[in-house]
């Protein structure tokens, strides 16, 4: 924006744009809940909410009214102030992160104005999103802690550990794109991907980075299959256990807004944001393009939730530290090399694809080895990675399936018969 | 752009630093002592950034960056130590850790 813009105008414009953005986000949140229930129901062969209004479209409104009038419980052992504030923190943080996301092209390309469709275009935009979303964990940790409930506390601790673990991979995955873009400003990143810029969406240069980002993002927003903090079966509802009514829905709101944010970031960094082969020059259309792309990712989130079972907690951690982080480092190194050597984008893309293929092949190979072992009688045995008795773990041949597993199971039975091992 | 004297920022920095120092001296929970140390580091960081801005040189900011990183490393190790102490002693009062008494 031109330097001549008076400060008051800047402030006013920002306030107005923020207000509009918040309204939009809240609306999307409300309808996301409805869409999610419909989509999941469809996937599961059910109907979902379809009574209130056409296709049940007024369902979010009904829910909101219900939530607003629901009694709010404050546990006796809670730390009251923090208990009350925690959900608010979550929402505020979620909303603030969105401030630098450009949801459309400038109204008059080439002539920046204060009314362009983003709240602020700061030159550390992406860092802003990362740093603000790293604060999101506070809402959860504080909520869980202040509830004065072990389940809540455990849920919040899980959440903290999970978010810290995946934030590193997330940031590193994005760094590849940043190297191609050469800027941290969200608007500039999008411009780099338009025909006026480098003319490619960075997904083609960064397939590996994108994959890591998506996995890490799902974990970062605590969505299935990484929704450990609120795992009903394990922790009743994690940090949400003691919350009800509006405060509960504030947490939901934060979660959905975060989803929108990470989808927007994915769109912006990997799919060209509001650009679509020149069409974005029609100002209104650029916002639609952006919305469609984000919607695709949101749908992806719902789809994942409906499809994948929840992952075990230790595997979640292992996935984050031993799989995603090394891959992200590898991606960053490869990308840095490509950028530094001035190689064209498709080299980087091909290397990324090759790594993906290699990783998939290895994983597939391993899973085949460990999936099932066939005994001599032809019956399927449990894979060796399933440990029945903890104390004989080291004696089980955990190497390759097949005979090792057979031997292990036989040894296990022998031990059980001896009475040396108690199940 | 600045109309605020540099010493004002530095006095804020000194205040924060002293508060951190006192925290180290009077608190017995090692976690809070640790936080007080972080406070002291941050007070110094404030001084660095202030001087960087006033001297118009990026060096101070680089120092802050490095302090930040080292602080992260320090916290990681320190918290790991505290957790392992807690694991063995079920108690993290620093006054209980006085095996070095003469």
């Amino acid at each position: 924006m031109p330097d001549t813009t008076p400060t008051w105008l800047l402030v006013v414009a920002s306030l107005v744009k923020s207000a509009i953005l918040i309204v939009i986000l809240l609306t999307i949140f409300a309808y996301m809940t409805w869409i999610e229930r419909r989509v999941v129901a469809r996937i599961q062969g059910r109907l979902g909410p379809n009574r209130a209004g056409p296709f049940g479209a007024l369902q979010p409104l009904a829910d909101a009214i219900k939530m607003a009038f629901k009694e709010q419980i404050i546990p006796a052992q809670a730390y009251k102030a923090i208990y009350l504030i925690a959900p608010v923190i979550s929402v505020v943080v979620a909303l603030s992160a969105f401030a630098v996301v450009p949801i459309g092209n400038s109204w008059t390309p080439g002539h920046p104005s204060v009314w362009d469709p983003w709240v602020g275009d700061i030159n550390v935009g992406l860092l802003w999103i990362l740093s603000i979303s790293s604060l999101a964990v506070y809402g959860i940790v504080l909520g869980g802690w202040s509830s004065g409930n072990r389940y809540s506390l455990l849920g919040s601790l899980r959440s903290a550990a999970q978010m810290i673990s995946y934030e590193t991979s997330l940031g590193l995955a994005l760094s590849g794109t940043l190297m191609w873009a050469g800027t941290l400003s969200m608007v500039s990143i999008v411009r780099q991907q338009t025909l006026q810029g480098q003319g490619i969406w960075f997904i083609v240069a960064q397939p590996l980075g994108f994959l890591i980002y998506i996995i890490a993002a799902v974990a970062e927003v605590n969505r299935a299959p990484f929704d450990l903090p609120e795992a009903e079966q394990e922790l009743t509802a994690g940090y949400l256990t003691e919350y009800s009514g509006l405060r509960w829905s504030l947490y939901q709101m934060a979660e959905y807004i975060n989803m929108i944010t990470v989808s927007s970031v994915a769109t912006t960094l990997f799919f060209g944001g509001w650009s679509f082969f020149g069409l974005e020059r029609i100002p209104g259309l650029s916002i639609v393009i952006f919305a469609v792309k984000v919607a695709f990712f949101l749908f992806l989130f719902i789809w994942l939730r409906a499809t994948l079972p929840r992952i075990r907690y230790d595997r979640l951690m292992r996935l984050g530290w031993q799989f995603l982080l090394p891959l992200a480092v590898l991606n960053a190194v490869v990308t840095a090399a490509c950028v530094a050597l001035g190689l064209p984008w498709w080299v980087n893309g091909l290397i990324g694809l090759a790594i993906i293929v290699a990783v998939l092949a290895i994983t597939w190979q391993r899973s085949r080895q460990t999936r099932f072992a066939i005994s001599k009688t032809g019956a399927e045995l449990l894979p060796p990675s399933v440990r029945l008795v903890k104390s004989i773990e080291p004696e089980l041949g955990l190497v390759n399936g097949g005979e090792a597993a057979v031997a292990g199971v036989e040894r296990q039975q022998a031990l059980l018969q001896d009475g040396r091992v108690q199940v | 752009m600045t109309t605020i004297p540099v010493s004002w920022y530095l006095i804020v920095s000194a205040l924060l630093f002293t508060i951190g120092t006192i925290g180290v001296l009077v608190r017995r929970n090692p976690l809070i002592i640790f936080m007080s140390i972080e406070l002291m580091l941050n007070a110094v960081n404030l001084a660095f950034v202030t001087l960087s801005s006033y001297l118009d040189s990026a060096d101070g900011q680089v120092f802050v960056f490095i302090v930040l990183t080292v602080a992260a490393a320090e916290v990681v190790v320190g918290l790991a130590i505290i957790v392992s102490i807690f694991r063995t002693r079920r108690n993290i009062d620093v006054d209980e850790m006085n095996l070095l008494r003469g």
């Binding site: 604060l135 | 508060i19 976690l31 404030l46 950034v49 990026a58 900011q61 960056f65 918290l79």
Partner: protein, 178 residues
């Protein structure tokens, strides 16, 4: 931002940051202390913004508030799950008084030094193309920072990365089940 707005914001931030810093050492509950510290850090980040160090401000939030303090909170909530334990007898009750007096002396002396015309106010500024403001004006904040970091302090940078690796290994070793 300039003139009275700047001064007002400075004082608001100063009071807020000092107050929240006092909170760190005054709260009995470690979680509240941690929250106070987070607040202090955020206020400091705003100070940095005020001083034109945008990158440092953001990194302050990202690393300190977003990572370090989360770790703190993690440990605090884990270890001090029930902070209402009866507090043990303070074995050094006299130290509070001494510390307070010494703290006052320290602040007083420092303030006196800072206000009584130390050479700081007349310190020479960097000039020419190396000057921070010039680089920022030409290339932007991050670029200026990056140049300083990787040109003048690349060795320190590398050493820091080594420190981090060592710290990670140390934490791993310490965190292993004995």
């Amino acid at each position: 931002m300039s003139g009275p707005a700047l001064i007002i914001s400075f004082f608001v931030l100063a009071v807020a940051s000092v107050a929240s810093a006092l909170g760190v050492i005054l709260f009995r509950n470690a979680v509240y202390s941690a929250l106070s510290l987070i607040l202090t850090l955020l206020f400091l980040a705003m100070f940095y913004l005020q001083l034109g160090a945008m990158f440092i401000a953001i990194v302050q939030i990202l690393i300190y508030a977003g990572a370090i303090m989360v770790l703190f909170l993690f440990v605090v909530t884990m270890l001090a799950a029930d902070p209402r334990d009866p507090d043990l007898q303070d074995r050094l009750p006299w130290q509070r008084g001494v510390a307070a007096v010494l703290g006052l002396v320290l602040v007083g002396a420092l303030s006196y030094l800072l206000l009584s015309g130390t050479p700081l106010n007349e310190a020479a500024r960097a000039h020419g193309s190396e000057a921070l403001s010039q680089v920022v004006a030409q290339q932007g904040n991050i670029q200026a920072f990056g140049q300083a970091l990787f040109h003048g302090f690349s060795f320190a940078f590398e050493v820091t990365s080594l420190v981090i690796v060592v710290a990670i290994l140390g934490a791993l070793v310490l965190g292993r089940k004995a």
